[in-house]
């Protein structure tokens, strides 16, 4: 596969390490009353769609950027990629 790196253009996917669903960026608030349940959902549950999927790829043999790649899991067609760090901050305090 070829990953359209926002800075570097098309790069072979072998340069990347795959993590999974982009929802892994949405780490829950550890101080919430429901923190344990929230974290269980966050860590274990996935939409796992057959179709368009936003997912995390790390450019390990490249510029070490974490990318959010939008890809169709039925066809492997890639619809876009963006730098994770450019997205609004979403981590807990």
């Amino acid at each position: 596969m070829l990953i359209p790196h926002p800075l570097l253009g098309l790069r072979d996917s072998q340069e990347f390490t795959y993590l999974g669903d982009a929802s892994l960026m949405n780490r829950p608030d550890p101080s919430a009353v429901t923190a344990e349940a929230d974290f269980c959902d966050y860590v274990f549950l996935r939409d796992n769609p057959a179709g368009v999927h936003r997912e995390l790829w790390f450019h390990e043999q490249g510029d070490r950027s974490w990318l959010i790649v939008t890809r169709n899991t039925l066809t492997h067609e890639i619809l876009g990629a963006e730098l994770a760090r450019d997205l609004p901050a979403r981590g807990a305090k």
Binding site: M1, P30, R85
Partner: protein, 981 residues
């Protein structure tokens, strides 16, 4: 000899070769198949199941029958298609899958027993008695199955791989491909033209069509010469594009030296990964046959293949020159073969055409409305039965060509599982619209098979493909050639009482398909799996469509309603050598060497693989005959004097930035932000699911500068996870991360005399306990100005330091420490002694941090700080983790000289041993020369409250059982006084 005149062979270059030990002669330009045919050899192999005599059926890579073992010894290559094996001087080939001579195969008894071997028979029998399957039935089946044999020797040849990038990949170098490549090349695009044949031209070489009134080879040669001269074109003959992968990536194998008598010293084959912005699939078409009774005898071949042998290779498909040839066809195409054979002087009995009232195209007889209903000839065709209007007659022939129409070669277009679609005019499946993105099927591969149509379509598809990527290409002048439309009828098979083969190699007949239908195995996939149709080495290239037609007939549905089958990579067989190409021995994967690797080698060290690293495991001395002697000595040196160990392999991550301390607080489960500058702290990292992930030390070199160490195994992953936390979770923090693992040679200097030793190399640095206490760190210079980092940390439990210098000085530093420490007993130690030292001290390592354990299990539950958030903190509090009762304990065997092997399971003494009573396992085990006893660490149920209890450590796998006393994990200096002195 049945060699004809003309052809594209070099008669000035005769080549001797052997088949089954007999010597023959062919010419440069021959394939093994054409050379055999030219020598009158029709019988070349045996079928898979019934061991029926088989000959050459095709003239290309779709060949189901003519499989031979090429070469001998370690270079023996089974299952090579004679039809694509380029002839070379001294070529050695043997037929396969028979016992005794090819002509008198003892296994041919299977053919007599064939009624018992109908489709699916083996699912219905061989079940009694139960044990006989492995003992009797299966070994017999296995021996009979298989085609050729491996030599069982390592492949002696070398293989290469590489990567190519282009605008347009043209797959197939026939009329379509050459036209496409020329169009694109003239437009300035980067073009790769690949063809599996050793000569470009495709069917242009096999047909007698003229281009611009001249032999087609004139235009082919001219075009190839122009392409070869262009810098933007890469011509790749002998290159099979075998797979279509995602996003325009193709796998291709180039046969670099397969056609050479001796490939020694050369790369035999190269695996190319081609990334193409667009591709033109110009793979042509594959002719299909028409099943009829006894249609599998040597001498029966595809009519198009016959033309190829006659025109390109000047070989008549008969055993004896002058034997007549017949053609069986359901369309016009078969007649072309008759004409070409006649033109070459081969007598033609006639053309049996299933269509009524068909006129001859030349001077031969037409058996209109006729079918072939029987054949004779044990090792080669001698006669055929022609049936017309219910009347049958036998005719002597030396060969029969069968023309059932052409199937576009959709193989590569279906690798993305897009289904071909039925074209009722062509009576064939053509590539569908949901084929691989960016691929443009062209020419015969999409049903435009006439020479003129192919040339035009190649050009037009190249223009379209380039237009897609913004490159403007212009039409090129194409050679003039007449395109007479060839008519064809939907005639699929001749009903027969006898067996009519559909899939030749796997011996699947019309009867088998009928039986499959009877047994309700009617979906195409069930049919294939029940009968093994299409599962042979040709992936059903010549059989699938015929089988669909038979099944459609049985169900009363149309062919497209019955289904279609798609093909899977690879297009043709690809050697595992080239796929796994390159280095298979010591260089199979790269090795990481420590800065003292060469020094340790010179000391005679034994090495061990630790991930990709090579580490010295111990340093044997003269007179030591067992590894334990060396390791015990090294351990005791550290306990009594001073030892030196290269610990460079531990991961080192530089963490800087205004928020570095906050960041590390979130990465480590314990508090790290409060660490004072100039100090080191032990830290635990958890996975977000609360389990233990990694441990190591964190040194604070400045207010906003830390160095994190990781275990050797997890160095890469921890760095990646920290980047994740930095970029994806907390991008607002000002943190910069850089791995510096390789930059520093780090040497552990451990033992009571370590301070004395280091004092001799530091440049006036105060190493006293007051100035540089336990867990201190500093940047300093040593040996007259060499910058270094010093950490007072201890894995062994002794007074110890780790000193880091720029990696290029690691070797010299080790030498210097050994030299100046000689009187102190300075001794190198390896990973074995390192392991003993840490087990004696109860430190966790890989066996304890195996991803299934928790801080609580290590007795480090308090290191998960409740005062702050950190990765894994929340989930470490879940019920299953919080209530975990297994604890790391020390184990002393009651019999000190017996080793409890790691991997033994722990039980309360006297209990029955099973999964329910299992209470833990031994993680690490070693001999402690300090305690003169074997010792071990293990996780034990309620281990922390069972000190002093004698338990059982069981190793039923190796028939062992031990009694062991539960003790604290610190076998040495439990108070920890030594490392603080």
């Amino acid at each position: 000899m049945t060699r004809l005149s003309g052809g594209l062979i070099d008669r000035k270059a005769p080549l001797g070769f052997t088949f089954n030990g007999k010597t023959y002669q062919g010419f440069q330009g021959d394939t093994l198949a054409s050379a055999l045919l030219a020598n009158g050899v029709q019988l070349v192999g045996r079928s898979f199941k019934y061991h029926r005599p088989r000959g050459i059926f095709t003239a290309g890579s779709e060949e189901p029958n003519a499989l031979v073992t090429l070469r001998s010894g370690a270079r023996a290559e089974p299952n090579t298609r004679a039809t694509v094996a380029e002839l070379f001087a001294g070529l050695e080939a043997r037929s396969q899958n028979h016992i005794g001579p090819l002509e008198h195969d003892l296994m041919a008894v299977n053919d007599l027993l064939s009624p018992f071997f109908a489709a699916g028979f083996y699912y219905k029998t061989f079940m009694w008695p139960r044990a006989f399957w492995e003992r009797l039935y299966e070994p017999a089946i296995r021996r009979a199955a298989g085609l050729g044999a491996l030599s069982t020797l390592p492949d002696p040849d070398t293989y290469d791989k590489g990567f190519l990038h282009c605008d347009l990949l043209v797959i197939g170098g026939g009329a379509t491909g050459l036209s496409a490549a020329l169009t694109a090349a003239r437009a300035g695009a980067e073009v790769i033209l690949a063809d599996e044949d050793f000569r470009f031209g495709g069917r242009l070489l096999a047909e007698s069509d003229l281009l611009d009134g001249a032999p087609a080879t004139d235009w082919v040669d001219r075009t190839c010469a122009e392409l070869a001269a262009m810098p933007n074109v890469r011509l790749m003959p002998r290159t099979t594009v075998f797979g279509t992968y995602d996003h325009g990536i193709f796998g291709a194998v180039q046969r670099v030296a397969d056609h050479l008598p001796d490939p020694t010293g050369q790369v035999r084959q190269t695996l190319w990964r081609i990334t193409a912005k667009r591709s033109v699939l110009a793979a042509g078409a594959i002719e299909r046959h028409i099943p009829f009774a006894d249609n599998d005898r040597p001498g029966i071949m595809l009519a198009g293949a016959m033309r190829a042998y006659a025109n390109r290779w000047a070989a008549a498909p008969v055993r004896k020159s002058g034997d007549p040839v017949a053609i069986f066809t359901n369309g016009d195409d078969g007649h072309r073969t008759a004409l070409d054979l006649l033109a070459k002087g081969v007598p033609v009995l006639g053309v049996i055409d299933t269509r009524p009232a068909v006129a001859a195209f030349g001077a031969y007889q037409v058996f209109s409305g006729g079918t072939v209903t029987g054949t004779k000839g044990r090792h080669g065709l001698t006669a055929i039965e022609i049936t017309r209007n219910g009347q049958s007659s036998w005719h002597n022939v030396g060969a029969l060509g069968v023309a059932g129409g052409w199937n576009p070669n959709v193989h590569l277009a279906s690798h993305h599982r897009g289904r071909p679609v039925w074209d009722n005019d062509l009576l064939a499946f053509v590539p569908g619209a949901d084929g691989p993105k960016g691929m443009f099927p062209a020419g015969a591969a999409r049903g435009k098979g006439g020479t003129h149509a192919a040339l035009t379509d190649g050009m037009e598809m190249a223009i379209a493909a380039l237009s897609d990527i913004g490159v403007s290409a212009s039409p090129i002048a194409l050679p003039d050639t007449p395109d007479t439309p060839a008519k064809q009828s939907a005639y699929w098979y001749v009903p027969a009482k006898k067996r009519a083969w559909v899939d030749f190699q796997n011996d699947v007949t019309v009867k088998d398909i009928t039986l499959s239908h009877t047994e309700n195995m009617r979906s195409v996939e069930h049919l294939k799996r029940w009968t093994t149709l299409g599962m042979a080495t040709d992936q059903g290239k010549t059989s699938n469509i015929s089988a669909l037609a038979v099944m459609a007939d049985l169900t009363g549905a149309t062919i497209p309603e019955t289904g279609t089958t798609i093909f899977r990579p690879p297009y043709t067989g690809v050697s595992l050598s080239v796929l796994g190409g390159g280095d298979t021995g010591h260089h199979f994967r790269p090795r990481r060497l420590t800065p003292t690797h060469h020094w340790a080698t010179a000391q005679g060290a034994e090495f061990t693989e630790v991930g990709q690293w090579m580490r010295a495991s111990y340093f044997p001395r003269a007179g030591e005959t067992h590894w334990r002697q060396s390791v015990d000595r090294e351990v005791l040196t550290v306990r009594h004097d001073v030892g030196l160990c290269d610990v460079t392999t531990l991961g080192k991550i530089d963490v800087q930035g205004a928020d570095a301390a906050e960041f590390l607080n979130r990465i480590y489960s314990n508090m790290m932000g409060t660490l004072k500058v100039g100090m080191v702290r032990y830290g635990l990292m958890l996975r977000e699911d609360g389990h233990l992930y990694d441990d190591g030390t964190c040194a604070r070199l400045g207010v906003d500068h830390f160095v994190v160490t990781t275990t050797t195994a997890n160095a890469g992953a921890v760095y990646r996870n920290m980047e994740f936390a930095h970029q994806c979770l907390w991008p607002e923090l000002d943190v910069q991360l850089i791995s510096t693992t390789d930059a520093w040679a780090q040497i552990a200097v451990a033992g009571p005399k370590s301070r004395a030793l280091l004092q001799r190399i530091v440049d006036g640095f105060d190493l006293s306990n007051e100035a540089f206490p336990f867990m201190a760190c500093a940047e300093l210079t040593i040996c007259g100005g060499l910058r270094a980092r010093l950490f007072r940390i201890s894995f062994s439990g002794e007074l110890a330091y780790e000193i880091a210098v720029p990696a290029r000085y690691g070797h010299a530093l080790m030498e210097r420490l050994m030299h100046v420490g000689a009187d102190l007993g300075a001794t190198p130690y390896g990973t074995e002694a390192l392991a003993v030292l840490r087990i004696e001290k109860g430190h966790a390592a890989g066996a304890e941090l195996n991803g299934q354990t928790t801080a609580l299990m290590l007795g480090l539950g308090k290191m998960v700080s409740p005062k702050k958030d950190s990765i894994g903190a929340v989930m470490s509090r879940r019920e299953g983790l919080a209530q975990e009762r297994r604890r790391l304990v020390g184990l002393m065997p009651v019999e000190p000289q017996s080793q409890i092997p790691a991997g033994s399971h722990l039980f309360t003494k006297g209990t029955t041993q099973n999964m329910e009573t299992d209470q833990g396992w031994v993680t690490s085990s070693c001999y402690s020369p300090y305690l003169n006893s074997y010792i071990a660490l293990g996780f034990l149920e309620d281990g922390d409250t069972r000190m002093g209890e004698v338990i059982t450590a069981a190793n039923p796998l190796e028939g062992q059982s031990f009694e062991a006393k539960v003790v604290p994990t610190h076998f040495v200096d439990p108070e920890g006084g030594r490392l603080r002195d």
